[in-house]
């Protein structure tokens, strides 16, 4: 089932000293439960695209459809997660997780129970009365993910969501997150500058060109392994082939 349809997105910034064209003719679709990673040279407009998908920025041209419905502004179908976990340090974990529900006026028991279930499933329920400062970076990021999933989005946007974590934590957290996303069947669009991460998590990798960004290539990732996890992928012989391919594509830009 097609969940996301991005059609001809174009973005031109108006700055004091002229116009900057950031995105040009970006079109792609995502199926339910699919994980699409986006890589590209830094500053190419990957994050701008996510801001547009999240409804925080209006594109100069083009449309975004979620389940056939046109998106206008922030959509309840889309969850957005950034590099910083942005957990509010005056709220305990439970209240942080409820933040999105609170803002959306979704405090009915059935939604809260769902959020509590997510906390329980992913081993954070016992920390619900703790404050963010008492948790490790990896745990905080998982709390932020559950906060986003609590609103039950059809599509999750990850904007360099793991790049603030140290390498070790990053590997375990991405493994956890991958498991959560696949289990909850969430369609995910992930922006990263880490090529191994884009391969190990993605079903597809979109390679962006230099600014103004266009989709240079759509790379299907298939490890022929139904039980793949981000860590197991890294040992797959195809992994380095994908890596080399993306690496060459990206360096061809410079």
């Amino acid at each position: 089932m097609e969940v996301l349809n991005v059609k001809n997105i174009q973005e031109i910034y108006q700055a004091e000293n002229g116009e900057i064209s950031a995105l040009k003719n970006i079109s792609f679709t995502a199926q339910k439960g699919e994980l699409i990673s986006i890589v590209g040279p830094s500053g190419c407009g990957k994050s701008t695209l996510l801001s547009i998908l999240a409804g925080l920025l209006k594109p100069t041209g083009g449309e975004v459809y979620v389940k056939g419905e046109k998106v206008n502004g922030v959509s309840p179908h889309i969850g957005y997660m950034m590099q910083k976990d942005s957990l509010l340090d005056w709220r305990n974990i439970y209240k942080n997780v409820m933040f999105g529900l609170e803002v959306r006026g979704m405090m009915q028991p059935e939604y809260r129970e769902r959020a509590e279930k997510l906390l329980k499933t992913y081993g954070l329920y016992e920390f619900k009365d703790k404050y963010p400062s008492q948790l490790s970076g990896g745990m905080r990021q998982r709390v932020a993910l559950i906060r986003t999933l609590a609103i039950n989005p059809d599509i999750l946007l990850l904007d360099e969501a793991f790049s603030a974590l140290d390498y070790q934590t990053r590997l375990t957290v991405t493994d956890d997150v991958y498991r959560i996303l696949k289990q909850e069947q969430v369609t995910t669009i992930m922006v990263t500058h880490d090529i191994p991460e884009s391969i190990s998590m993605g079903d597809k990798v979109l390679i962006f060109s230099q600014r103004p960004a266009e989709i240079k290539e759509v790379l299907e990732i298939d490890f022929e392994d139904p039980d793949r996890t981000p860590i197991s992928c890294r040992n797959n012989p195809k992994f380095s082939r994908y890596f080399d391919h993306i690496w060459r594509e990206l360096s061809a830009n410079e």
């Binding site: 942005s86 509010l88 005056w90 803002v103 609103i151």
Partner: protein
């Protein structure tokens, strides 16, 4: 957190090392010496004041002396000290509360509307640098020579500072937090009440601490100009009739009152922060 501290205290008595004992002792001793020095300076100062006055080296008629201040205090305490104290504290608290409430409200408006904020910027800068005491005569004419004028003065002094302090805090709210809230579809009111305001609880208390002092400045200045009661009135009156004992005593009482009010704000901050889970 809790579990750990319990474990620590259980572990503590038997396992304390010699180095740690020395370290703790050193720390304790340092703390004690600071206390002793603080009290020592005060006692030494009072003692030399009293002695030099008794020996006639300084003129106790002009500079007063501790024993005379003590007597004056006892005398005042039996008469209308509480009334004067009450008047000053009342005026200060009213001015303070008005300053905080209106200052915060204005800061909210300026945060809300970037246009209004840009328009009012030069006015705020001028008003902030203007010594508000210069407005005294105007305030008296407008508000009348009484308590209102004094409260008005306290408000005038603390208001602009509060506005600027709070506005600055609101604007410095981590933009990532605001972006996060926006990504959940939060409207401006929700962003303010759920993110910006709680983020600035510490700013609010900083501004309260500054304000309680400024408000007292305004009240004393106001009482110097108009008034029939209050500590400021006592100081001016004492000066006019050359009762320097009264002036000194009032100033000392004022210092104590100011410190107590400040401490009250600090205490309130501790309570609120605890409740807020910081």
């Amino acid at each position: 957190m809790n579990k750990q501290s319990v474990r620590n205290t259980e572990k503590f008595p038997p396992e304390i090392s010699k180095e740690r004992e020395v370290y703790l002792q050193k720390k304790q001793r340092r703390k004690m010496w600071i206390r002793i020095s603080q009290w020592g300076i005060l006692l030494l100062f009072l003692a030399q004041w009293e002695i030099t006055a008794r020996l006639g080296w300084i003129d106790s008629f002009i500079l007063s002396q501790p024993s005379r201040i003590g007597n004056t205090f006892l005398n005042m305490a039996q008469n209308d000290l509480l009334m004067h104290l009450g008047v000053t504290v009342y005026e200060t608290l009213v001015g303070f509360l008005l300053g905080v409430v209106f200052g915060t409200l204005l800061a909210i408006i300026l945060w809300w509307s970037d246009f209004i904020s840009k328009v009012s910027e030069p006015y705020l800068v001028v008003l902030n640098s203007l010594p508000k005491i210069a407005l005294g005569p105007v305030i008296i004419v407008i508000a009348g020579a009484g308590t209102q004028a004094i409260i008005f003065m306290a408000l005038a002094i603390s208001l602009v500072v509060t506005v600027l302090e709070m506005l600055n805090g609101f604007r410095r709210t981590d933009p990532e937090y605001i972006r996060m809230a926006m990504s959940f579809g939060a409207n401006k009111r929700q962003i303010f009440t759920k993110v910006v305001f709680p983020y600035n609880i510490a700013t609010l208390f900083n501004s309260l601490k500054i304000n309680i002092g400024l408000s007292l400045v305004g009240v004393i200045a106001g009482e110097f100009l108009v008034s029939k009661a209050g500590l400021g009135y006592l100081i001016v009156y004492g000066g006019q009739v050359f009762q320097l004992d009264l002036v000194m005593t009032s100033v000392i009482i004022l210092a104590v009152v100011a410190a107590l009010m400040y401490e009250a704000v600090v205490l309130l901050q501790k309570l609120v922060m605890k409740w807020y889970g910081h």
